[in-house]
Symmetry: C2
Subunit: 243 residues, 2 copies
Amino acid sequence: MSGFSVTPVEGLPELREGDDLAGLIVERTELEDGDVVVVAQKAVSKVEGRVVALAGIEPSEQAVELAAGLADPRRIQVILDESTELVRVRPPLLIARTKHGFVCGSAGVDASNAPEPETVVLLPLDSDASAARLREELRERTGANVGVIVTDSFGRPWRAGTTDVAIGAAGVEVLRILDGERDPAGYELHATRMALGDEIAGAAQLVFGKLDRVPVAVIRGLDVLGDMQGADLVIPPETDLFR
Amino acid sequence: MSGFSVTPVEGLPELREGDDLAGLIVERTELEDGDVVVVAQKAVSKVEGRVVALAGIEPSEQAVELAAGLADPRRIQVILDESTELVRVRPPLLIARTKHGFVCGSAGVDASNAPEPETVVLLPLDSDASAARLREELRERTGANVGVIVTDSFGRPWRAGTTDVAIGAAGVEVLRILDGERDPAGYELHATRMALGDEIAGAAQLVFGKLDRVPVAVIRGLDVLGDMQGADLVIPPETDLFR
């Protein structure tokens, strides 16, 4: 095991709905079997047209209340539309559970890096399907068997700042489960489950930056291809001791 | 920006109290200015002698109760001794706040990979001081200006599995704060704070594995040296919206 590399895919244009993301990637990098292609959510959402113009949004009374005069009530309305549950509320800040089961700020709705003013970008409708589609398209173009991870920046309790996590994945062992295996001293490793998918997402974020418009990175040298998806990293509430 | 590499430092012996960790590292790798040396907590704790023999522990009534006949009450007692607060309790599982302010399973007390049976390994007493000491020793040996991060595997709410986070750091920009900066469209990035230290810790964990006895990795190619420490990643409870 000689380590791994994280390489940004540079020179991508500003992305728009309908753009051929797989094509834009393969023009800029040589993929190999075993690579993991990591794509920031906003790139995926943009090519999938998951962008909403605030002009067309009519805020509800609840949205106006939650905006508290500090945020655009139309943006709050979009957040409510994307949520199944508000987990924490401190107007105008909302932590919500999304339809995918993610718990994150603003239900993943983001105005930064939006393609136009007065628009917001939503999470992909089905981020695992997005990852699977991109994986298939990359394989068709290159013949390479790669994994794909779609990431977003999530806050978390007890720790400052955000880390990128895998909100979608295809062909990657996102969770390595060592239950029952033994360490070199013979101690059984109970319930050791490593969230490789989230660690890979975080590694890619280190090259994305927030201002540099580099939303794609290639991870090479890890032995992590497998048959899981991003949903495998969402913990069912009833088994979540940390909740 | 051409990406970065994560390289394990291989061939380290089983570590014991008093071992010269800096010396063992520099014998096995060439460090350069700007590298970040990432060390798993257990390696640091072992050389610092943060290992407790259960034979000398007298469990309290509370420890016996929390063990619930499912765990060694002496190990539970050690966890209580390392904790300032129990955050979640489902006997014998405990999520605790440590004296450092970390919230994690078993207050970081771990029996796996312990040097002897019937012993447990504690977190370093002051993991930022451990990182600073190692950084200084590496600089003395090599002349290289490197950052150091000490990591441990933490669970988190809402997500499956653990990711490694930075429980100690020296000379690294563990939190990148973009408040007030603007994205290419001119949108102000409110309160964008990226936990680079935790993302670097997770990247290193991808090469540590749990069974391979590789507790040190070198990150090369990131521009992340700075003047912060691990404590900068602990969020004060009163400002923690996610809590």
